[in-house]
Symmetry: C2
Subunit: 257 residues, 2 copies
């Protein structure tokens, strides 16, 4: 692979290196301060933010491209990554905006450059442990930062729709995918887990019912109490009982919240 | 669009008309004789069968391409079509096989022809009413025919994996998508519906439990008895109560079989 060479060098004659028409966009979810967050890059040339994305080398599987892009922005080794949708309307990108984004190379990119053409984008979502991520900007951005999914900044092209579709996919898959497992640290409170379910399902859940049901599945092990200074009302910490949890997911059992 | 011109004419200089690297494959499911079936084309030049597929015009949304391809094989106007996965390993197609498939144009297709390059394929599944389909072969095939999903013929490239992935997607989505509604004619027996669930879930279901649950959801209207000549044991026919059924799907209610 070409990963030892700077991307900008490969990009200028990109038609030699990359699969034409195909890009990858990663929606990287993390959970912090009881908020579901998504990792975005601010594109210096236009100010708007965008999803960490990239292109596919000619000899590279699309999944490998998604992993490579995700690693380059998060530095994470072990990843939960899932393809969820392809975005392929004919007018989803705009040449004038692309020209600004790549303005460092303005002299090198002609209107018929591979980068100026129509791209379909394959969307992947990743569920990562927020605390383990060291966000890395890329060559076109000075900032790589987390944003609350409920409070997104101005986004380039169809990236807001891509994030919304990723949330929809999570909603469909919440009973079959280890979503909480990948987003939460080893120990967490029931409230943390409830907020993840509430954010993904898009509605408030009754705390008592939620606790009763989730504990009833036998997928959580109770740990020590969260230290809070006071003696009372400190919430218990829990961790997933990995075996029980994955068994429950295989059966589609964690549901009905 | 170019749909009034024969495809073969467009294909020879296809790089002028089609998005490079991107193809579409449709997994078209129908239900007949209590079997879930998939519509396949036999590729004359190699004997193996393949999914109805095609390419995307440069100015065409990928969904529109999928609909166009589906219509050209089924002649159906109203379609339930759903994108489910992109197949993008670097070695999923083989030049020597492609050369045979397109052997009518052997003189015209060089090794660097757009058709000989790597393609990712966007998989769509369609659920159609078997009785309404008049299968249409394409330019590379003399036969377009239904095959039982449990008894597939030799298939080209990764098309068997594509069908299996489509079935997996159905399995994940059976509680949220109008699968039975699109596969069954207006009137059907409970046994018909049970077989669809069994085929998609990949396991036998208890008849009594199934009937009790599915009737309990209030999504079915009872019709007259199926005429069978005898007086007893003729099964009742049912139809979906459209409003109740779609309401139930929105709530993810049709589950737990």
């Amino acid at each position: 692979m070409h990963s030892d060479r700077p991307l900008s060098e490969l990009y200028i004659n990109g038609e030699q290196h990359f699969l034409p028409s195909v890009s990858v966009d990663n929606v990287i979810f993390g959970f912090h301060d009881n908020e579901l967050k998504v990792l975005l890059l601010q594109l210096d040339a236009i100010g708007a933010w965008g999803l960490p994305g990239g292109h596919v080398f000619k000899e590279e599987a699309i999944e490998d491209a998604a992993v490579r892009i995700l690693r380059s922005r998060t530095s994470l080794k072990h990843l939960f990554l899932q393809q969820f949708f392809v975005f392929g309307s004919a007018d989803r990108t705009r040449q004038d905006v692309l020209r600004k984004v790549f303005s460092n190379w303005d002299g090198s990119l002609s209107a018929d450059s591979w980068l100026m053409q129509r791209f379909i984008s394959i969307g992947y979502y990743a569920l990562v442990e927020y605390e383990k991520v060291a966000p890395q900007p890329d060559e076109f951005s000075s900032q790589c930062a987390w944003h609350n999914v409920g409070d997104l900044p101005a986004l380039i092209f169809d990236h807001r729709a891509i994030i919304e579709k990723a949330l929809q996919a999570l909603r469909m898959q919440i009973n079959y995918q280890p979503i909480g497992y990948n987003l939460l640290p080893k120990a967490f409170t029931l409230k943390n887990l409830q907020v993840i379910y509430e954010t993904i399902l898009g509605r408030k859940l009754d705390r008592g019912n939620f606790n009763k049901k989730v504990l009833g599945y036998g997928i959580l092990d109770k740990k020590e109490k969260l230290f809070s200074g006071g003696r009372h009302k400190a919430p218990y910490l829990y961790s997933f009982n990995k075996e029980q949890y994955f068994q429950a997911l295989r059966n589609g059992l964690v549901k009905d919240f």
